[in-house]
């Protein structure tokens, strides 16, 4: 069991995202509601929800690589976000699931929810390139 990935990028820290839990070995990222993540008054901005999904996906893939003993870098190729419900002015959570981790690419699915994990406010589907660190 490798240590939980908790070092989030500056962008995530600026939005007050933190690792609050883990589900199936993947870090759960929490993001409190604040003006800086607000779109229309009282509701989350779709971009902030997407950001939370991306951070959860990146955390999940780093965790999966670490579990494999790999120190490879990742490069995001694309993302598709489906917005299902408006995000209310409360804590939002997200977790990523690495659906496939190959040698050259990975597929990740991330889910964002508020009160009920079975009622996602948004889902993200991402592709990442896996880039082995160059020797020397």
């Amino acid at each position: 069991m490798s240590a939980l990935y908790t070092t989030l990028p500056p962008y995530a820290r600026a939005l007050d995202m933190t690792v609050v839990d883990e589900i199936d070995g993947a870090p759960v990222i929490g993001m409190p509601f604040a003006d800086r993540v607000q779109g229309r008054p009282g509701l989350l901005h779709g971009g902030a929800i997407s950001g939370l999904l991306e951070i959860a996906a990146i955390a999940a893939i780093h965790q999966a690589l670490r579990a494999k003993g790999s120190d490879s870098n990742i490069k995001q190729v694309n993302v598709t976000v489906d917005f299902m419900r408006g995000g209310l002015s409360q804590m939002t959570f997200a977790v990523g699931e690495v659906t496939r981790l190959g040698r050259t690419m990975a597929n990740v699915e991330a889910r964002a929810w508020q009160d009920d994990r079975d009622k996602p406010i948004a889902m993200g589907y991402m592709h990442y390139l896996i880039k082995a660190k160059r020797e020397g």
Partner: protein, 157 residues
């Protein structure tokens, strides 16, 4: 953008058209748009271009200074969303249904990122959008976006 009250509608009075520069003063000064300091750059009949300046707290990786990809999503979300109102020449409440971003290359450290959103088709309930992000030269895009918005209420009255 997520679903919500038609607060932006108050900026665009009935029959008064839609002014993306004016509306960005609201969307780009408060909330998430304010956090990112989104600025209005220009618009045409069916497009709006916005920009975000590079900032240390918006990066994905402190070693490279590459901008977090999510910043590009927010930029494209706002630019494409506003392109619909611009094409309509009117505000209408809507929610992002989905948005896809292809990251062609990273947005380098220190560089301003521009996002152009284009509404290429509009039905009574759906706005079809695409767009791209660049660092000042539209011929060298760094990301492409496509998505759909769904109308969430009647015409702003």
């Amino acid at each position: 953008m997520t679903t919500g009250k038609t607060d932006i509608g108050t900026l665009a009075p009935k029959g008064g058209g839609f002014d993306p520069a004016l509306v960005n003063k609201l969307m780009g000064k408060f909330g998430h748009g304010g956090f990112l300091n989104m600025e209005y750059v220009g618009h045409g009949d069916n497009w709006v271009e916005l920009a975000i300046d590079w900032r240390e707290d918006l990066v994905a990786d402190p070693d490279t200074g590459i901008l977090a990809s999510a910043v590009i999503i927010s930029l494209m979300d706002n630019a494409t969303s506003m392109s619909i109102w611009t094409k309509l020449n009117e505000f209408r409440p809507q929610a992002t249904m989905d948005l896809r971003i292809d990251y062609l290359r990273p947005s380098p450290s220190g560089q301003r990122v521009y996002g152009r959103g284009i509404c290429y088709h509009l039905t009574n309930s759906i706005g079809f959008v695409r767009g791209y992000a660049h660092n000042g030269n539209p011929d060298q895009p760094l990301a492409h976006a496509s998505g759909t918005f769904i109308r969430t209420g009647g015409q702003a009255t």
